[in-house]
């Protein structure tokens, strides 16, 4: 679990921002989205999502508002802000540069 957390910490913010970039969602929907789009390969402890969401809101990358679900239940919805989108795009390119570099090393073989 602790290992999971360490792995996730840096990337959870990125995952959340990416997820919310498709539209406003409440926390459970974000969890589901990550779960499904990762084909259940990313085992995130679900509770860890909430500190991340609130922290992102503190950084003004997200905004939250209370609203109602399709089933008419009250839930807190998160929405990405303009600053959040900007942050996301720079983080995305940083991430892809990083993973490319790592995979280059990992796939390189001695000539």
């Amino acid at each position: 679990m602790a290992q999971d957390l360490d792995l996730i910490r840096g990337t959870l913010d990125l995952l959340v921002l990416r997820t919310l970039s498709w539209g406003p969602m409440h926390g459970l929907a974000v969890t589901r989205w990550i779960e499904q789009s990762s084909e259940r390969r990313l085992q995130i402890e679900e509770g860890a999502l909430y500190p991340a969401l609130h922290r992102l809101e503190q950084k003004r990358l997200l905004q939250s508002e209370w609203g109602y679900t399709d089933q008419g239940r009250r839930a807190r919805f998160y929405k990405i802000t303009a600053a959040g989108r900007k942050h996301l795009s720079s983080e995305l390119s940083r991430w892809s540069r990083y993973t490319e570099a790592v995979s280059l090393v990992l796939t390189a073989a001695p000539a």
């Binding site: 679990m1 459970l28 969890t31 402890e45 909430y50 209370w66």
Partner: protein
């Protein structure tokens, strides 16, 4: 566990209320919302698991919680973040509100620049003046002396009421050992004497200089808590050597004379003919209270020095827990037993015969003194009054502003403008004005403090400690803060809920009238304060004028004086007096020959400058009578002295050939002659110093009385002996330390001092000439305390007068505007211009008269505090207290004349049309 908060209707209602009233969310609300959010997640999962995987509710809940992880941990993390978000929001809101309010206030204030400017200037002047005098008061009176444990330091003196009235003797050296050994209240004690000493130049061609010197017991440094900057302080062994062998330099003298070079330690300097080795340097500011001593020398102090020599200053440090009164009670029985303890020093009945006792005063009181602290408190009181008057003017301005804004405000209130917001706006406005005023006030105070320091009498203690520092800034800010709040509240209370303003066609007659009477009262109060200040200033002016016209018994105009001292080491021995007299005679002859010099004379006691002193005189008679009941001062003079200083003498005075021939002629003052030879011709009578056997000096002339202790003090008896004694009748000492006086017609008399110094050093290379001063400067300085107080009071009174005149002008002008239509009606009904002018003037003088009456009553109480400073005028002088109200009424009439004229020129048609 998640506490279950049912989302009930009242919860929603609360949320709505909160939104409408923009109430900040509470900590409880935030906790509830966080729980709701988390519960939504888990409940959603449970539903999902039950539907998709067919789990029972319990199993689904277990699975949901497992997937969620440590709920309490995540909850607290999220909650911490929520609180941080909330704090940030609150901070931002406050900052935004502040910026918004200030920006808005600046904008409105700039729209009324005259109001803002006058308000700021008036406040800045008032606060600045008060801060300046507070700075002086704080440094001189309030702040403790700059020593460790300053509150435990006391000074000692001995009144001898049956001998010398109010005069105090010092402490004798043996008393220090006696008190320390037998008393319980003293921790340590030091004795010292201060004098001027001649320090010879180290190289040939370097002139000897005169410096302030302290001769002290080693213990004084311990009492005052000094530590050496370099080298060492004195030790008791230094005090047992005669003559002394070591010296300590003050920091300033070390810098000046040795350029701060450490090699000064170990060097030898020649002080009064004695070679002294420099053993230490004191740190900066280590000095006796209010004395800028350059040089410290060990005094001859030993437990065996038992002489009736009560001439030493003494400072002691009390043991913790003792007060000055405790110490005085502790030392009283010891003092009474002095004759038993020192039978060789005191006669048996000495204590009862003299009324001798030991007085212990806190060092601060001894340094500052009652008259000084009283004078400074008086001045502070007067500038506080000026500040009040300035405040009243500003208050009036604010009230006018409230009136002019009344419709605007009422309209906004009626339209639902937030009242608290208006209040905040007023407060921001007045605080802003006060803040700007505070900044300007500090600049004003800084300037005024330096002006006062330039003007201040040199005997005002602790002037070197006066700086515009933290206390002054705190005072200015405090005064500004207070006025900001007061004026803000004044506007709020004057401006709120004035809905009547809308109804009555915009004039708001009733409310305006009550405010107008409040403003009249303010102006009346201003007038009253101005009367008090003006009375005080007038009394001081009368005092100053009286003092200037007192005939001191000499003619100070055109008289130059300087100190001439001959080295003690060289002018000692039996023939010292003759050798010193020869020197002075040659010096006088050569100085008299200088162009522009009409008379030259010497004396060892200069009026005003020398202060009080006392010499035992014996009068020739059937039974020689020692004059110690009154102990008249004796002075040594040279021929030519009376002619130079301008003291008239009936009969003969001294002449050089007679004195050189030992003719034994002397002069006595008129008061002395009348006291000791009442109804007789004093010419030819005999008197001498110490001893009852002939020869006696013979009275040749009677000099007019001299106010030697100050022009505000009565004249004293003086005996004038020739500086060259006759054989068999020695005098108090050889004339090695004299004042040379010369009367001159030169345009720049002070330049003569250099010439005199050159001549003196040609005659005697070790002679030091110092402190050339004009006698009229000395005289002016002696009344500087009165003139300083007078100048400051005059400034304060002028400010008060101008400010209250402006206040009256403002109120009367406003009154005329208010009553425009009424005046118009009157004029339409045939009132003459003169009648209208008279009506307005009567109104105005009514206000002024009210203030003047109150002011005179106030002055009768307040001026009593001045009585210690007054001379030749009583605190309730009818002429002064009578003329001040007239001045005030005249100024009031002047201030209201313009508005009255304006009233008379009102066009009735226009006035009525505008209504």
């Amino acid at each position: 566990m998640i506490p279950t908060h049912p989302v009930e209707a009242d919860d929603r209602l609360w949320r709505r209320v909160r939104r409408v009233f923009r109430l900040p969310s509470t900590r409880r609300r935030r906790a509830v919302e966080l729980d709701e959010e988390l519960r939504f997640h888990i409940e959603g999962r449970i539903d999902e698991l039950m539907a998709a995987e067919g789990l029972s509710r319990d199993a689904a809940e277990r699975e949901a919680r497992r997937r969620f992880g440590d709920l309490a941990h995540y909850r607290s993390q999220a909650s911490d973040i929520d609180e941080a978000i909330h704090r940030g929001r609150v901070r931002m809101e406050i900052r935004d509100a502040l910026v918004r309010e200030v920006r808005q206030s600046v904008r409105t204030l700039l729209r009324t620049p005259v109001f803002s400017l006058i308000t700021v200037a008036t406040l800045a002047l008032g606060i600045g003046a008060a801060t300046a005098v507070f700075t002086l008061l704080d440094a001189v009176v309030l702040r403790p002396l700059p020593y460790a444990n300053a509150d435990r330091l006391v000074s000692m003196a001995s009144p001898v009421p049956k001998l010398k009235g109010q005069t105090r003797w010092g402490v004798a050296r043996h008393e220090m050992y006696y008190f320390l050994a037998q008393g319980h209240s003293l921790e340590n004690m030091g004795v010292y004497q201060t004098s001027n000493a001649t320090v010879l130049g180290r190289a040939s061609g370097e002139r000897p200089e005169r410096v302030r010197m302290v001769q002290t017991s080693a213990s004084l440094f311990n009492v005052l808590g000094f530590t050496p900057l370099h080298g060492r302080l004195f030790v008791p062994a230094d005090n047992r050597l005669r003559p002394p062998t070591v010296a300590i330099l003050s920091y300033g003298y070390w810098q000046r004379r040795f350029a701060g070079d450490r090699s000064a330690l170990g060097q030898t300097i020649d002080v009064e003919g004695y070679p002294l080795t420099i053993v230490g340097v004191l740190p900066p500011n280590a000095n006796l209270p209010d004395l800028d001593a350059a040089l410290w020398m060990p005094a001859y102090v030993d437990s065996t020095t038992n002489w009736n020599n009560h001439t030493w200053s003494a400072i002691a440090r009390l043991r913790p827990g003792f007060t000055a009164q405790d110490a005085e009670r502790d030392l009283a029985p010891l003092t009474a037993r002095l004759p038993e303890a020192y039978p060789q020093v005191y006669g048996k009945n000495w204590i009862t015969r003299t009324g001798f006792r030991t007085e212990v005063t806190s060092l601060r009181d001894a340094v500052v003194g009652d008259t000084v602290s009283r004078a400074l408190w008086t001045l502070f009181g007067s500038v506080a009054l000026v500040l009040l008057i300035a405040g009243a003017n500003v208050a009036n301005l604010f009230l006018v502003r409230v009136d002019t804004r009344r419709r605007d405000v009422a309209l906004r209130t009626a339209l639902g403008a937030d009242r608290s917001h208006l209040a905040w706006h007023y407060l921001t406005e007045s605080m802003l004005l006060a803040g700007v005023a505070a900044l300007l006030a500090m600049g004003t105070a800084y300037t005024l403090v330096h002006l006062m320091l330039a003007l201040a009498p040199s005997e005002l203690p602790r002037l070197s400690e006066v700086t515009v520092g933290g206390a002054s800034i705190a005072f200015a800010l405090g005064a500004a803060l207070l006025s900001g709040i007061v004026f803000g509240v004044l506007q709020i209370s004057g401006g709120h809920l004035d809905l009547a303003a809308l109804r009555d066609g915009g004039r708001g007659a009733t409310t305006a009238r009550s405010r107008l009477s409040a403003r009249r009262l303010l102006v009346a109060a201003q007038m009253a304060f101005a009367v008090v200040l003006l009375s005080a200033a007038a009394l001081m002016f009368r005092t100053f004028d009286n003092l200037r016209h007192v005939h001191p018994g000499f003619d100070a105009n055109g008289v130059l004086t300087m100190e001439i001292s001959l080295p003690d080491a060289k002018y000692g021995g039996n023939d010292a007096a003759d050798r010193a007299s020869n020197f002075h005679e040659q010096l006088a002859a050569r100085v008299r020959a200088l162009p522009g010099v009409t008379h030259v004379g010497l004396t060892d006691r200069l009026p005003i400058l020398s202060g009080d002193w006392c010499t035992g005189i014996t009068i020739e008679g059937p039974t020689p009578e020692t004059v110690h009941g009154a102990c008249p001062p004796a002075a040594l003079i040279s021929p030519g002295y009376f002619e130079t200083i301008g003291t008239r003498v009936e009969g003969r005075t001294l002449d050089w050939s007679g004195m050189d021939a030992h003719d034994g002629l002397m002069v006595v003052s008129k008061a002395f002659a009348e006291h000791w030879w009442p109804g007789q011709d004093p010419i030819g009578k005999g008197a001498k110093f110490n001893g009852s056997k002939p020869p006696f000096y013979r009275v040749a002339g009677v000099a007019e009385d001299v106010r030697a202790l100050g022009v505000d003090k009565p004249p004293i008896e003086i005996v004038y002996f020739p500086m060259r004694p006759i054989p068999g009748a020695p005098l108090p000492g050889p004339p090695t330390y004299m004042y040379l006086t010369l009367r001159t017609t030169a345009a720049h008399p002070l330049t003569l001092a250099n010439t005199v110094a050159r001549i003196a050093q040609e005659l005697e290379p070790q002679a030091a000439v110092a402190n050339p001063q004009m006698m009229d400067t000395i005289l002016a300085k002696s009344i500087a305390r009165q003139s300083f107080t007078m100048v400051l009071l005059l400034i304060a009174a002028t400010m008060a007068l101008v400010l209250s005149a402006v206040g009256l002008y403002g109120v009367i002008s406003y009154l005329v505007v208010q009553r425009r239509s009424e005046i118009g009606v009157r004029m339409a009904l045939g009132a003459q211009m003169g009648e209208v002018t008279g009506m307005v003037l009567r109104q105005s003088l009514g206000v002024a008269a009210l203030g003047v009456v109150a002011g005179v009553l106030g002055a009768l109480v307040v001026t009593r505090f001045l009585s210690a400073l007054l001379y030749g005028v009583t605190p309730t002088d009818p002429a002064t207290l009578g003329i001040v109200p007239l001045i005030l009424l005249a100024v009031s009439a002047l201030a209201s004349y313009a508005p009255a004229r304006r009233a008379a020129r009102i066009d009735p048609v226009e006035a009525l049309r505008n209504d």
